[in-house]
Symmetry: C2
Amino acid sequence: MGSGMGRLLAERSDLKISGGIASREGKSGIDIGELLELEQKLGVEAVNDPSRAITEETDVVLNATSSSIVQVEEEIKFALRKSCNVISIAEEMAYPEVAEPEIAFELDQIAEEKGVSLLGTGINPGFILDLLVIALTGACLRVEKITARRINDLSPFGPTVMKTQGVGTTVDEFNRGVEKGEIVGHIGFKESISMIADRLEWDIDEVEESREPIISDVARSTEHVRVEPGMVAGCRHTARAFKNGNEIIVLRHPQQICPEKAGIETGDYIEIKGDPGIDMAITPEIPGGKGTIAVSVNMIPLVLKAEPGLKTMTDLPVPSALPEDISGLL
Amino acid sequence: MGSGMGRLLAERSDLKISGGIASREGKSGIDIGELLELEQKLGVEAVNDPSRAITEETDVVLNATSSSIVQVEEEIKFALRKSCNVISIAEEMAYPEVAEPEIAFELDQIAEEKGVSLLGTGINPGFILDLLVIALTGACLRVEKITARRINDLSPFGPTVMKTQGVGTTVDEFNRGVEKGEIVGHIGFKESISMIADRLEWDIDEVEESREPIISDVARSTEHVRVEPGMVAGCRHTARAFKNGNEIIVLRHPQQICPEKAGIETGDYIEIKGDPGIDMAITPEIPGGKGTIAVSVNMIPLVLKAEPGLKTMTDLPVPSALPEDISGLL
């Protein structure tokens, strides 16, 4: 993700990559253009030490290192304390008061103190199963129930994603992996549900999550994994939120490799039961990698302009593709 | 539209209708609950004189009287000068610098001076063919072309809409009506195009609009109009915006009665050619009447919270359906 953001930024004349932090020791000292496999060097070397990349001169730091707030907390605090705005794609940062309310409070305080803003975003959480859902309810007189599905294709992803989604396991291995917390499915359901429920002021009694194996009838394979018939091609992860005992928000995110082999059409679907009812489909789904890179980079001008503090996607105006020169938006 | 807003507001315990202005003389002095055909009186009478309905105590004025800025200018100025926030569904108010840049400037100044905000909105312009389009480009690395279509059903509308859309005319009558400016089609294309183009900083060379008769093969009729085969069932209104000579934004809004009689499925469709490409469909379309009532009322908390001045839908956070009590959003 960081490389994709870097490549998008490197193309632009109105934005300058002033530094880059490599997690792997061996990348330190290498020109960022080279690391991004660009035709030209950028004249800026990757470093391992954040203090050499992030300074008071930095306008915005893009954080793309982990899904969990606890893992990114110190990185973000470091940047905020240097008076840098921060955009993080850590899934839990999309609505940080869910996973870590105390850290969220601290981050908000530091950002306010330093006069900068902090946003967690990405395609999901951050856009499809929350921002877009909320925006569509805006055309409703009343809303009774929300069901949203993101049916996507995991084929382009690497070994880590295959492992956390249980792709290529047997059903037994899958079930054990879920039990042990090694097969996690999607990270972000709780964040998306809270984003929606808080905006609609729905008191949620409880959120139930289930992770089921998507058992393949056919052989499927990618560069990184092979799934024989009867084995697991992915994880059918569902979250259900209840209000006064009634199912009120259902988010479904079955993720698998080669869905087309099973005749499955991918897409993003939002169904609002209400007055009027709304039935939206984006087919195929907005791709996760490009979508997350785009949303996070596209929010740069809005984050630069935002009031200081911790923000969510529902606090700020909608994103748009970046114009050739963002200075007009500032 | 005003009655629909009134009925939605009357249901709520957190919002109070403090006054209502009737355009027709005969409605003055009648309880608003009665005018809205509610079961109970509201204890507030409709008046003809704005100064009896709008006072310094009024938080927000909903303006639903005309499509044109020139027609609503004085009404809005009156409310702003009383330090009231204003939400207008006049189509031209969705992006007022297009039709009336000087009035837009003045309205912005008055609103800023009085510390209140002013928003033009509605389902379209204001939501489908602009806000939603812009939001979806936010998931794109780059955008080459935007095509959006709103295919709707005019059957529920009254005689005025039938006339301005040319429903029930012969082809000759339709063409003469367009020439004379009596058959106008959709109002708002220029506003939607400028909203999109300004946000993406696209320099538009020119906008071409065409209004063609939708000639019916079959008989269609509503309470207000009858269309024989060979006659006009509606107006196929299209706007094309060009950048450097290339078609870059195409908005299509064919409006007709009984589209199902011609086997036409209604819907809102947005197609973005770019990286990634995005193909969105809402089927059936979000109904225009309910959608406009919902969006305008649902923006109340966001307008109350907004910085002073003239705002557009792209300046503010996305709308949502109103919670039971909006005080939490303020």
